[in-house]
Symmetry: C2
Subunit: 358 residues, 2 copies
């Protein structure tokens, strides 16, 4: 693909904070940004040249969006695959591709794909009926994690089954949604790798970050994490297999469990820039947002070397109310997403704290 | 002043690249940005929540702008002082103040002010008539630089007088504009200092940068410049005198000539973020744009320590056409302003090249 020239229009499906930071990166490279999402006053729309306010399934609006964009990407993994396919059918250039989105939207397809390219996952079982779940628990035992196959994030749409007598209640809590039962991973650490692939197949990987979750929501990422060369190589290898297996163009995040002996098991693939990659804004010269824009615009990928070790901390809900103190912290940089309502658990911003030069 | 809370509206008069970078910094801190300028598709409007398209003297538009903004600042030093005064008369909070703008808009007032607070300038002479100019040349001798008192930038509106017989032609070239004759400064280097002052009087100064101009237009800034402690102290002292003498709130740039013996002479004060401060985007954690927003929003000022020595190079006119090569340079970051027409000498973008960790 010929690199899109300056002044080209980048369409972004999704209008949250990831779209906001993608939009700012795209503008800095000289692109015009068209944001498409359901809200008029969204984090992304308020920093973008053009905003299209519509549902993701509104074909007339998608037509106008396609006409206004030289390339279309997304910041939100729950955009309907059919919407991407519709855009492609109308001649739009879309990256990442619809197949990659479809696979990563569905936890059964995702793990099946991972295994097909030689990536370890926890044991998993497709669950459509109570009978499926009972059989799966009989084979796997407890504890095990029941999740909806689709959607759900930050710990929503999932329930631990710790005793056999919780099976029915767990199944009913999903309200008939198709599900997956996952074996418990006995992991020592949770890490993630952010990686990019260009239209020409070039792959670049950022240093691995170590993540800490609180109540199922990412709290901090420390990157580069202190890891062995073996683990580093394995993480990079997994990222490459995912990117190539999906014929992916853009940035994605791969969450991994680290088991004893530096064994890595896939937790989840996020087909977009990722919260665990926010540290790159202050750790690297080319952050994950610029990198994604470079990839989808057909530009050469940027430098993923870490210059600083950074601890990224999410500001969830009322955490953001401490902005005055946070803004005075030395060696740090504050990012606020421009959302009004700081309700519990909502991602309102983050702070990158520089720990040391690398 | 109580710090403006998240979600407050920052109004920016002026819609060029400085407004663009101010707007992005303000958004990152959680502010909503209202840009006011003559162009609908401007560098700043395309990255801002709200854009008011109007002339700077349109009182009805200024009324709406004041109503939509919690604080108003400017990125363009040729905004009419009367417009700022009008906004203040309507109850708007404006920073920097109108007096500071008025003084720095006029080269005679600016140098008179500088001397009044103990800052050296070159000798200068007010020129309203040909007779004034002839008398000034008789006292000062040649070479000397004739400039319009107001406006003119990047070498426009100024002419060198190298021989006494050029006086009439030089005077006539200004088409009757009020003027100033300046003695030639025998300088070794041109440096600048970017500094900020908050509502509470706190002053912070960035490391001094060394500037190189080509055909009267800034080409590069290298910062921190290699300078003696004496020069550093003198430059900081000058910045503080300017900020305090103008009761200034916000960021400004002070251009200085370095004479033999580390003597400093004021060249020009820019009452706004400044091209010679762009290096701070990659040299410092809090760049000049964030710093200006912090100051005018009543936030505590940010860290001005340099973490990298950076060489900033302006991309003028057709220089920007090399974006594909520039975007692949290691250790650098590219900034594109989103302007369409790369005409000769026009500031289209810049590139920050990291030289070394500091």
């Amino acid at each position: 693909m010929t690199p899109l020239p300056l002044g080209s229009k980048i369409g972004i499906l999704g209008d949250g904070q990831l779209g906001r930071m993608l939009s700012q990166a795209a503008s800095r490279l000289g692109f015009k940004v068209v944001v498409y999402g359901p809200d008029a006053e969204s984090p992304a729309a308020s920093v973008s040249a053009v905003s299209k306010v519509a549902r993701y399934t509104d074909e007339a609006a998608l037509d106008r969006f396609a006409a206004a964009s030289d390339v279309i990407t997304f910041e939100f993994e729950n955009v309907p695959v059919s919407s991407l396919e519709y855009l492609v059918s109308k001649g739009a250039k879309v990256a990442p591709n619809a197949r990659a989105l479809g696979i990563t939207q569905d936890r059964v397809l995702e793990k099946t794909f991972a295994r097909s390219v030689g990536i370890s996952t926890v044991d998993f079982y497709e669950v459509n009926t109570l009978d499926d779940l009972e059989k799966a628990i009989a084979i796997n035992g407890v504890p095990a994690l029941l999740k909806t196959r689709r959607e759900g994030y930050d710990g929503k749409g999932q329930v631990w089954i710790r005793h056999a007598d919780e099976v029915r209640a767990a199944f009913e809590s999903l309200n008939g949604a198709k599900a997956i039962l996952e074996a418990k991973a006995d992991f020592l650490r949770e890490v993630s790798v952010i990686a990019a692939r260009g239209f020409n197949g070039e792959v670049r990987t950022y240093p691995v970050g170590e993540n800490h979750h609180v109540k199922g929501i990412l709290s901090t990422t420390l990157a580069p994490a202190t890891i062995s060369e073996t683990l580093k190589k394995r993480a990079e290898d997994i990222a490459r297999k995912v990117l190539e297996g999906l014929d992916y163009v853009g940035v994605l995040g791969v969450e991994l469990f680290v088991l004893d002996g530096d064994e890595l098991v896939l937790n989840e693939i996020a087909p977009r820039v990722h919260n665990t990659g926010h540290w790159t804004q202050d750790g690297c010269l080319c952050d994950q947002f610029e990198q994604h824009i470079r990839a989808v615009a057909g530009w050469p990928l940027g430098d993923t070397t870490a210059r600083f070790q950074v601890e990224m901390t999410n500001l969830l809900g009322p955490d953001i109310l401490a902005w005055e103190t946070l803004s005075q912290e030395p060696n740090s940089r504050l990012y606020v997403y421009g959302k009004d309502d700081p309700r519990e658990g909502r991602k309102m911003g983050h702070i990158n704290r520089l720990k040391r030069a690398v």
